[in-house]
């Protein structure tokens, strides 16, 4: 009796499988392979970029730390330095303001 039930069960499942498989909306293999290739490349690029991003973050942190140390070292002489080199400071700031948008544009464009 159990054996008969097993056979009926197997037949029902196989029939179910055949119906589902016949109506399966599977994409063409070339498309699946192409998508997988593109995704694998993107994943590889992401993995390769990780150390670069880390190095950039580390460098930026170092620059900020050095700048803060430099400011701290000349903090007491700051008023006299600003008075003496006012024109140079203004020109440097203006140059930075001019160049910064261009630098951002170049950095973000491909």
């Amino acid at each position: 009796m159990m054996e008969l039930d097993d056979l009926a069960l197997a037949a029902a499942l196989k029939e179910d499988h055949e119906t589902l498989a016949a109506s399966a909306p599977v994409p063409p293999p070339a498309l699946v392979f192409w998508r997988a290739t593109i995704r694998a490349r993107a994943d590889a690029a992401r993995v390769a970029e990780r150390p670069i991003t880390f190095a950039q973050s580390f460098a930026a942190t170092c620059v900020i730390a050095v700048a803060l140390m430099a400011v701290g070292a000349i903090w007491n002489e700051m008023p006299s330095l600003v008075t003496q080199h006012a024109l140079m400071i203004v020109l440097t700031l203006a140059f930075c303001l001019l160049v910064a948008p261009i630098a951002v544009f170049v950095a973000l464009s491909d």
Binding site: D5, D6, L9, A10, A12, L13, K14, E15, D16, H17, T19, L20, A21, A22, A24, P25, V26, P27, P29, A30, V32, F33, R35, A36, R39, A40, D43
Partner: protein, 161 residues
């Protein structure tokens, strides 16, 4: 794997794999999404493949893990069953009876746990051995016989309702 080798393998397995995904997940749309993911992971993998049967089992193991992982995550867009628009259900005579029987299997399978569905499908549709089922589902080979017996009994009871 070369594209030509992949094409041959895909032609042999894609429809069966989609049916497996659709039945185990109980969601055809999810099966569409997971099919691509299965083959992506399969192609990306560098696991040593012994033969064609091992390759197929490996693909189904990926599919099983993907479905079980998806089941653990709550879905945002819960899908409704897609049986009502099945044209076979509207057909007269034998076609309608066949469709009703398929729907019984569909509903009964939906009430089983995903692991039980996978086990029954692998055993009865794919004809996998106990060892292959154990490998695919990450279970002990010795426990498959009992688990399969229980799953089979549950499905038989649900079909008899």
């Amino acid at each position: 794997m070369t594209e030509d080798a992949f094409r041959l393998f895909y032609d042999r397995t894609a429809r069966g794999l989609w049916a497996y995904l659709a039945r185990i997940s109980g969601d055809r749309r999810q099966a569409d999404d997971l099919l691509q993911e299965c083959y992506y992971r399969f192609l990306k993998s560098s696991a040593p493949i012994e033969d064609e049967a091992h390759r197929k089992n490996y693909l189904f193991r990926i599919a099983t893990n993907l479905v079980l992982d998806a089941k653990r995550r709550p879905r945002v867009d819960e899908t409704t069953p897609e049986h009502d628009d099945d044209p076979a259900l509207r057909a007269p005579g034998d076609a309608a009876a066949d469709a009703a029987r398929r729907m019984d299997v569909d509903r009964a399978m939906a009430k089983l746990r995903p692991r039980d569905r996978a086990m029954l499908w692998l055993a009865y549709v794919n004809g996998s051995s106990h060892k292959e089922i154990a490998d695919t589902l990450g279970l002990q080979t010795t426990s498959i016989k009992l688990l399969l017996f229980r799953a089979r009994r549950r499905l038989a009871a649900l079909l008899a309702e």
